[in-house]
């Protein structure tokens, strides 16, 4: 039973990967803005604002919070291309459970995003930005990246299922991928915002994801404290991971439902 699921899933993922690597710009374009932020804008802000080196590390992690939504949302475009000009009709008629069509795409999007994050972190480290990561810290960060990434892909898949054309999809990407980034403590702690926005930011999964990543890679629990106001950092990290995992589960389930209901109608 397990093999019957894994085998088509591997085939679908391989197919998506082959399509993706055929267009290298899909791999490179989402990297441009975060690398620009991490390597150019963060050092410039540090100089202009007379902050210390930790601010560069703060922003470097913040840029991961931009890379994940951008990359996952761009992955949603390929869903529309597949539906309008690709092989979706043939895939729907194939003896494959339809949720696997979504999961196959998700695996590739997650793998590529992981690769891009590794490039971004390596570029930041090469630029002289210091990370203080323990093994458990890396695991916290990975868990945050995976759950937040899965959640964003769910959102991308839902949007792709609801929007008929690529142009309309692209028009919605800034609202979904970029606006929350400004509110989620990417460039400054959420407490620096007006009280209402700081309160609102606590409901954004990206706020929890970024706080977890900073806790994991920088050993900085300030973001978690700004959200939960507790002293036990492990408990706060667990709670934030619970939030991102819950969003990931709900949005993945919703994306599968939207796809299976709207693919043929």
């Amino acid at each position: 039973m397990f093999a019957h699921t894994l085998s088509p899933l591997a085939t679908l993922s391989r197919r998506r990967l082959q399509l993706t690597v055929r267009t290298p710009r899909e791999l490179l374009v989402p990297l441009v803005t975060p690398i620009l932020f991490a390597l150019v804008i963060a050092p410039a802000l540090r100089t202009a604002l007379h902050t210390d080196a930790s601010y560069e590390a703060f922003v470097a992690i913040g840029t991961v919070g931009l890379l994940i939504p951008l990359n996952m949302m761009f992955s949603g475009l390929s869903v529309i291309v597949d539906r309008e000009q690709g092989a979706q009709r043939e895939l729907l008629a194939a003896p494959v459970a339809r949720p696997l069509l979504v999961l196959g795409n998700l695996i590739v999007a997650a793998a590529i995003t992981g690769l891009q994050i590794a490039v971004l972190i390596a570029a930041a480290a090469a630029r002289g930005i210091h990370f203080h990561a323990s093994t458990s810290g890396v695991l916290w960060c990975l868990a945050a990246v995976v759950t937040f990434g899965v959640e964003m892909y769910g959102l991308a898949e839902i949007l792709a299922g609801r929007v008929p054309k690529q142009e309309e999809y692209i028009a919605r990407v800034p609202a979904v991928a970029i606006v929350p980034w400004f509110l989620a403590g990417s460039l400054f702690p959420i407490k620096a915002m007006p009280a209402f926005l700081a309160w609102l930011a606590k409901f954004l999964p990206l706020t929890h994801g970024l706080a977890l990543m900073r806790y994991g890679l920088l050993g900085d629990a300030t973001g978690l404290r700004n959200i939960w106001g507790m002293h036990d950092t492990t408990a706060m990290a667990g709670l934030s991971l619970g939030v991102t995992a819950l969003f990931a589960l709900v949005l993945t389930a919703a994306s599968i439902r939207v796809f299976t209901r709207s693919a043929v109608h």
Partner: protein, 107 residues
């Protein structure tokens, strides 16, 4: 041949009979704009019935005895499609027709 959808047998017949349920010919339209609206227009004009379905921007319309010439004339008149073709139904069409999410939910 049995077609199973969501754990239920939704069709059980010979391949020829299953294809025949969609008629001898169907029309396939590649729509440039809103495919759902195009399908609704075809239904309003009596060209498409409940067994028509769409995947992305492709509308598949079983003709159920109508001639493709008449149907294409209506499609041209309504300026619905960027490309139109007619062909005999395949088992893929049968499967998609029977396992479409909203169609299956309504059945």
């Amino acid at each position: 041949m049995a077609i199973i959808h969501a754990g239920r047998i939704v069709a059980l017949d010979t391949p020829a009979a299953l294809r025949a349920a969609l008629g001898r010919e169907l029309l396939e339209l590649k729509v440039d704009g809103d495919a759902a609206a195009a399908l609704a227009s075809l239904r309003a004009r009596g060209i498409a019935q409940d067994d028509a379905f769409l995947v992305g921007s492709t509308v598949t319309v079983p003709l159920n005895g109508r001639t493709s010439t008449d149907a294409i004339a209506v499609v041209s008149e309504l300026r619905l499609a960027a490309a139109v073709s007619s062909r005999p139904p395949t088992l893929d069409d049968v499967y998609l027709r029977l396992t479409g999410g909203r169609l299956a939910a309504a059945a």
